[in-house]
Amino acid sequence: MARLRWATQIAALILVNIGFVQILKTGVVCPFFYCYGCPAAAFACPIGSLQTFAAVGPFPLYAIGSLGVFGLLAGRFWCGWGCPFGTIQDVVARIRRRSDTWALRPIAWPKYVVLAGTLLAAWIAADTLFCKVCPAGSLFAAIPQRFLSSELGFGTYFYVHIGTLVAAVVLFFLVARFWCRYLCPLGGVLGLFNRVSILRVKLDRAKCTQCQKCLAVCPTGIVNIDDIGTSTDCIQCGKCIESCPSDALHISASLIN
């Protein structure tokens, strides 16, 4: 399963970058936290789109509807199996080869504070302010754009971008999936759908022996077995399934269950 997950993550990274062909730059909102300022971006960042509408446009029903469809299909499966920023965090976790330096419990509310603050700031300032500090934008857009267009000068926000990116990477080394756990506004939205999504990790309580091996490997630090697959913090990565010795966990794709 780990190989399949890496394969889908790499496929997603390629897919969101097919916009190097101009005609493939679409107005489709993607289910990942990925910057549409990337020179090769093919899809729109959902948080960027929501901000744009909050700043200048009508109520973002198209973007909200898109997120609803993605959420109902797979909840935070997108975070665990496709998100390019999540992939970067997984790569960092693989490099450090040890458990978290800080043993922090997952907390849901900061993600919603970031989401509300982002939209409110965009509405008040009529500008996409979050984009100016977003670490994903730093990595996928600001740095590549600077390399591609050397005639562009460095503005204040470029240094802010570098600062947030460095801070984010340091935090990734200390705590696995730190961004997904505590800060990702998109993860907060998709997490709301974890309980009702068609595709999700499911626990068979009859088979569970309470060995808690699943909790030990969880990259988002979930502490309660019943929260696996349903909590807003669960990114549905399936590492718990790999660790389960009694096959009590599986990926469920059902409208009814």
Binding site: Q22, K25, G27, G57, L61, Y62, G65, C131, V196
Partner: protein, 55 residues
Amino acid sequence: MESLSHLRARWGKLTARLALTAVAVAFVAAFAASQYDLVRDTVRFICINCLGLGG
């Protein structure tokens, strides 16, 4: 054999999922025509200022 309450819960979830999916798809369908181009413009015309480039 499944109890009646269990069956009700399962069908309740199915109904909720279908209703939510219908609403979400309807949003996309109804507003894609008017809002798709604005979203596409954000992908095609990069906000250099947002990236802190351009002086």
